[in-house]
Symmetry: D2
Subunit: 263 residues, 4 copies
């Protein structure tokens, strides 16, 4: 039997991999002091009233215009700009929560992708801070991976009849092999690392951050929401800078905005 | 330390827990030979053209009308009727796939709900058929649960300072306890049982069955899709009876319909 | 030329034509003091924590449980129950606003359905209250219908060559006839009556009422939202009774709820 | 009374105003021969299997990879790239059909925006081709606008009491003025021009084109779908070039793809 791959600890990484590029139509008598999805949101808002001139100083800049949008709740104009984040070092359990957000488009690492040379897991922060707990955690994760490998071997041994197969028998064996691999996956823990490519429009991202960066939320999910927020604030500050990151007494972070009051 | 709960094997159970009740408006000169969501779909279709009389024998019955809807692809009228299924004996890994269907509304058993007196798991069919593999599987699941319990104990021991706490300290301890419980969950396997209440309209359910009951799909997901189909066919036969269940060479089931040709 | 059909004034009518029927699973140790979608929402909420017993008096009744759901914002459990409303006496302009709500499923009277014996229109309330304005309104609507009929006649006269056609020519003529009818529709006013069958889950309906029954909203849309609310309060009081209908100084109605604070 | 603005004929114009910009993560061992949303779709597809190397010539180029995606129906990876089109010269009747596509995000010119110096309308193609019909059409549109203006004048005259108002009376008068303007809008025809900013991901745009560019669809809606397709093919050829534009016997255009077989 091959040696069981040791658990490899993967850290959360969140990267912006795509954003909106705005191509202002040449025949619209308007320009603004921002680019990308921020400019697009203003364009869409002004198109609704053909308010291309800017008589009101209170909305003459892109930042002021979008702040007004947040204040009056004209959130549909925030649906035009999008951001795609590449999330690595996310546990399957946390990915499960991301999938609940139906306005996101998500591509996820196939659960069938099990590296033969390593068993990447994500270690919860409270475990990582406690050496004894961390050791226990990694030992259990390695044991789960060993059980996965052992089960796979057993299923394949119990099924392949011995002699070489061909034609329909070969097809049937390929199928059994696939089924064996799928079945073995069920022994991997929720801590197993997955990766996600998540695209959301600004409104969907705001909803995600608002719902998932509060103190009521599981630490790992909340840490993900705050990490996403930081990327979004960098990509579209006028849309996300009303969110402020704060620290709880236990040193963990939360985020909230005065414009998010939804129950 | 308490005794580790033994793994308990839970079987897939799918039950219809809600359906659409149709209340025909008294002042519409039409009636049909069906009830519930099937009648509602016909009502919505006829309302589009105010075609309350039935001169065409080919669509004079509810079954014929809805067959015509499927043939011409006027699928939006199938969005009015809904069915809610209660799914038990579903692994978290399979639930993950259900969540991808954004047109469903899903309530799921909280992952924080860990019964102290048992560790329910779902055993993949190919494992259950092989006694040696099944024993290995259950042993690994029980070990994972033991590791979960041990980690929880370790995290709580390392954190509670000893003396009784009160006020803000009590709040902080409650928080730590919650975080410890969440962190420990990450060691539970994908085979851990979850339960789902899933509501979908007929169109969404048809899409789910069409996408998930094919031979390319993981056995457990496919078995779930076929089990849902059976409930749906019983609840709304005119909407789902074009799907036929067949058997593959390995004895597992698939379902398909001549009206589903979407890539 | 045929006589132009006179405008017929249609009033708003909103009827509940479908609702959720709950079928409690026999093997769940729980019952409640409500039926239908209200019971289903409680069932889904309790399933998340398997909290079938009711130790807390504050959530022991269905009304109290759902009030708690609204208070803590656990709104996803309100997605299981649905209500279908049949809306008549709605102008196309108002229907346009309903279509914006993407979580609704809507079947609409085809714009191609133009009754030959009448021209149903919806008269805005402020017009109906003012006899001179109302007369002007109906005269204009009748003129628009006459122009529609005249254009249709002109398009068909200009195109049919005279002699009887057959085969491909007949097909081409049928197509031209269809195109002529479609083109003529563009002259009908926004006041033209349409009908809608709208299905939404409770959460979607709450969102619609919250967004459309405020004083900032066009009178006709707002009146529709309030009329829908009344049907919904009758169908599922525990889900909608937090909304209260009030009257503005101009005698028109608005609705709001303390649990709706979304910007 | 002011002179009635003459009808102004607006032509359909469709412009790409935003697209996806891809920012390839530096630490992923992969590059491709395309940019923007096309590269992003490939990135998302490869991330699912971590298939960064390209051993298979059949999917070694971006075009080949995305063609394979269309062939096997792995359409969710097409949800990451988006395109925003600015649509002008669209009638309200046609905009109504666009709104039905719930996966789009749409900002529309407010119906309250009625230019005082002109009455823009969109003339259906079959009308424009026939001088007599066109004249009739424009005369009717101008009459509708005149009726709108007349009704607005009547409503405001009937309501303002004469003497100057202040405080709450002023507020009430502002409200009545707003209501008068809204009511008058109902007399404008479906041909009235509107403008839309529409954002959709590639999958949503493919669905729109597939559903709306067929010969069964109203000419104006179909012409819009074909015009959108042309912009999309220019913005993301590997995602849309399977659609081919053809001409019907009447000279109008349709579009279809061998990969679209959905009923």
């Amino acid at each position: 039997m091959p040696r069981t791959p040791a658990s490899q600890v993967h850290q959360l990484r969140v990267q912006l991999v795509a954003r909106t590029e705005f191509l202002p139509p040449a025949d619209v008598p308007w320009s603004t002091d921002a680019e990308g999805g921020q400019a697009l949101a203003e364009f869409a808002g002004r198109a609704c009233y053909q308010s291309w001139s800017k008589p009101r100083p209170s909305t003459a800049t892109n930042a002021a215009f979008l702040r007004h949008v947040l204040q009056v709740g004209h959130l549909s104009v925030l649906e035009h700009g999008t951001a795609t984040l590449y999330l690595r070092g996310v546990s399957r359990a946390v990915a499960h929560e991301v999938l609940r957000h139906r306005h996101f488009s998500t591509s996820e690492l196939s659960p069938r992708h099990v590296p033969t040379d390593g068993a990447p897991v994500v270690v919860p922060a409270v475990v990582a801070q406690d050496p004894a707990a961390a050791e226990l955690f990694l030992r259990a994760a390695t044991a789960a991976r060993a059980a996965h490998d052992e089960l796979l071997t057993a299923l394949e041994a119990g099924r392949s009849g011995g002699a070489a197969s061909a034609g329909p028998e070969l097809a049937a064996e390929t199928l059994r092999h696939k089924q064996a691999r799928q079945a073995a996956l069920a022994l991997l823990p929720g801590a197993t690392e997955t990766q996600l490519v998540v695209t959301g429009n600004y409104r969907a991202w705001r909803h995600f951050v608002a719902a998932r960066a509060t103190d009521l939320v599981d630490l790992e999910v909340r840490a993900l929401a705050v990490a996403c927020l930081r990327q979004l604030q960098s990509a579209a500050p006028h849309v996300f800078s009303d969110f402020e990151v704060g620290e709880l007494v236990d040193g963990t972070e939360v985020a909230s905005s005065p414009y998010v009051t939804e129950a």
